[in-house]
Symmetry: C2
Subunit: 562 residues, 2 copies
Amino acid sequence: MSNAYVLGLDFGTNSARALIVDPADGREIATAVANYPSGQAGILLHPKDPNLARQNPADWLKAMTRCTRAAITAAKKAGEFAPEQIVGIGIDATASTPLPVDAEGRPLSEHEKFAGDLNAMAWLWKDHTAHAEAQEITEAARRHHPEYLAKCGGTYSSEWFWSKALHCLRVAPQVFEAAAAWVEQSDFLPATLTGNTKPATWKRNICAAGHKAMYHADWSLPDAAFLATLDPRLGDVRRHKTYQSAFPSSERAGGLSAHWAKKLDLQAGTPVAVGAIDAHLGAVGAGIKCGSLVKILGTSSCDMMIHPNTQPLADIPGLCGIVDGSIVPGYFGMEAGQSAVGDIFNWFVNHFDKGQRAHEPLAAEAAKLKPGQSGLLALDWNNGNRCVLVDPRLSGLLVGQTLHTSRAEVYRALIEGSAFGARVIIERFEEYGVPVAEVINCGGIAEKSPLVMQIYADITGRPMRLSRSAQTCALGAAIFGAVVAGPEAGGYETVTEAQAKMTGLKAKVDQPNPEARETYDALFALYRQLHDAFGTADSHGSLANVMKDLLALRDKVRGIGR
Amino acid sequence: MSNAYVLGLDFGTNSARALIVDPADGREIATAVANYPSGQAGILLHPKDPNLARQNPADWLKAMTRCTRAAITAAKKAGEFAPEQIVGIGIDATASTPLPVDAEGRPLSEHEKFAGDLNAMAWLWKDHTAHAEAQEITEAARRHHPEYLAKCGGTYSSEWFWSKALHCLRVAPQVFEAAAAWVEQSDFLPATLTGNTKPATWKRNICAAGHKAMYHADWSLPDAAFLATLDPRLGDVRRHKTYQSAFPSSERAGGLSAHWAKKLDLQAGTPVAVGAIDAHLGAVGAGIKCGSLVKILGTSSCDMMIHPNTQPLADIPGLCGIVDGSIVPGYFGMEAGQSAVGDIFNWFVNHFDKGQRAHEPLAAEAAKLKPGQSGLLALDWNNGNRCVLVDPRLSGLLVGQTLHTSRAEVYRALIEGSAFGARVIIERFEEYGVPVAEVINCGGIAEKSPLVMQIYADITGRPMRLSRSAQTCALGAAIFGAVVAGPEAGGYETVTEAQAKMTGLKAKVDQPNPEARETYDALFALYRQLHDAFGTADSHGSLANVMKDLLALRDKVRGIGR
């Protein structure tokens, strides 16, 4: 029983996962998942407002306890293992998922006064209620602080920290005022585990700060005076309820508290890393390197790239952020992605394939179709567009239906639409000097759907590779657990060293089929035409109003929004 | 047993119907339907080419025999009736549904040599294989004979006579050359029933001639020299294989032949009216009058209007024809319509509601939604656009999908899209001085779907009325049976007299709901925006290429078309 192990804790959209890893070789000796108990698959919805998506912070702690203990039990069963061999803990979570906390760092949702109040819950990344505020922030920053936007793609998103805080201020001032601090899920969890009850002293992570809150080493968070122009109370949040500095996950947040050590059956004092965003640690767990785009393919996609911080890098419009050190220290971390991928396929199967509600039969039918054969083309904006348009007020589109169009044809068109969206992102990276030689895929869809992988290869023209680990986010978290443990405890000095030992790729590679190229190039040109017509206001004869007007009408009829 | 009765024979897309009517009051004493036995619901399809839709002429005769005999049997059972009381027969059929026949007027499909050859069958109205030829004819007519197009909306359709003959000439020259005549289904059937074996002497109907073949009293069919510019052999068709004059259905085609009298259990010599298009006789059976648009709502829609031929009437662009006397003698008959209505609803239910395949549950859900509530908008072009764009190379479009969009929401959006298409037609009529005060609906959908009727009322802003008869086409045919029988035999001198006695409306009226108006006006403006962007090449920043390029790619991949 001399081995050291590290624990990665991954907080996804619907569940938490614990992964126990041997840092020597990345061997995953045990894992367990626990679903969040509340709402619909862990998400608190509003019956009338499809933009709303909240989460109960208590769910995170319950699920963490269950999955960690289950993983430990499994590890014990699997062989020679004792929980005290765990020498470091890394944590990732979704973002931007901010929540209001009290002066002791407890979520306001735990207060009797706010019981059941959706605005006192965590505002899940996919909550788009703050779309109007995102526009306001974007416009104000364009006028007064364009540098704030330069590193986050040119547009501030409704998914992000300040939009949500500003929206809360307006729709739930009593919650807003009661908050002693606004914190990210990825900061709340390490702070809670380390028993830190002073939010002002929490080590906030640079990943969420830089990608979601316009934090930059040159200026910290945006200026309080600037935020005060949006609302004086937002300036107060900046002054008193946030932070001045942010840190990479290679730093310790602290040691595991006695309370949580007991609950989780671990050793008190075990080093806990500063948190990070799930997709970013997924990129680390997939072995991200220059030239390899790591794609986390789940309900949505996150596309991660790195670029040496010693080399110049342009501001890339439409990206979700370029942050020094947000993925691997010494590199700019870049995040792009699509607001819905698996969510679209699931939506279709759940709503339009009532008899079966299964992907496999549809995928088998769809695999028989040739590119272009259906005459269909889809835009992949059912949940808005995160990159490169950064516009949540876009929606899905399907064109080309005849009276013979089949379910399998639509299903394939949705996959193709998603792949065209992926290609737009790759082309944007390359246009700005970041070559994409291959794509390393992680996540359930990459594992389970060879059809999706082949279509992505054919449409993007890039080989599709698969991360060796099926749970790269948790593995990435474990890697940072190894780094905060340090070499003396069986861990590593640097992330790069840890990656070299602990990550790998599967042998299978989906290569682009050259026969599909001509047709898919032609279809992509049509996709771009629709993309620009519906997505950009400056194309001539633009239809950019159409989706927005439809959503505005819908919201008016439903009586939602401001 | 002193009463006279008349028989209406209605040949629809999937079945034939016989209706026995008392001309004194329009009472329908018996009816029967017989499905066409071949293909898919009577339609011969091509596994690869969704544009192709043919029909076996033998099916018509088989179905006619079955339904006529069944109606007679039912009439006998219902009361005092003997078949010899039937004093006149009227006939309607789909159009343009041309077929090649031999020198005796027999379909070439009956010849051993062409057994199973789809090109020797009847080319069903919804066959769109001739879309390239339609463009050629349109372009040639625009240059040399714009008057040919002026009365048929400005564009010659792929659904129509000359497009199909020209396409046949190219893809099946052996069939083309073997034809002694090209005839419409609505001419073939009366000729067959009257035992006329000389196609050159058949009384061709002005309805199909004027609406589908550019026939006009001023010039007859298009000039042979003009047609020869498209192909010399098409000029030959004009010279030797068609006709010089066309007639209204108030004229007799002849008397029932002994052969068919025996087969149908009727009296030889019974007057048979010249044929007409089903929708046009449907308008007559619905009691069409000035200001009332008669809408035949079935798989597609036909929208019929009349206007006194003593008053000036502009050429209306985008209409399917303005023909003097094609509906009621003394009036210009005008035809408009949508290429797919019920077909779209059925397509959705059959393909995307696998569990139930029924309209009622979806309609019940959809009825609970408010206008605008779904955020969806659909173009109704799954089978192309017949009016006012006259373009078969258009396709369906759905925009506004989110991850929450339900089947019922899509179903309602498809109905709304269809109603917006109906409103475009109404606005076109009014723009050119033909007021539309109300809509008289006929057909299965009008009978069965109050949801469709209410949405049509709300979106068009017109009261929706229902024809009293559930089978107005057959009733219209029976009315012409009464006219060719004449007053001495218990019939009538004029169509108007017959209509006054034999037609009526139901009491129920769907009035437009004023609360829906604002939202639907806003949605209609967005529909128009998409309509013009995808449908018209001259809008700036047009997307008019998109649907066509998708269809061209599809056809290339499938290896269909020229």
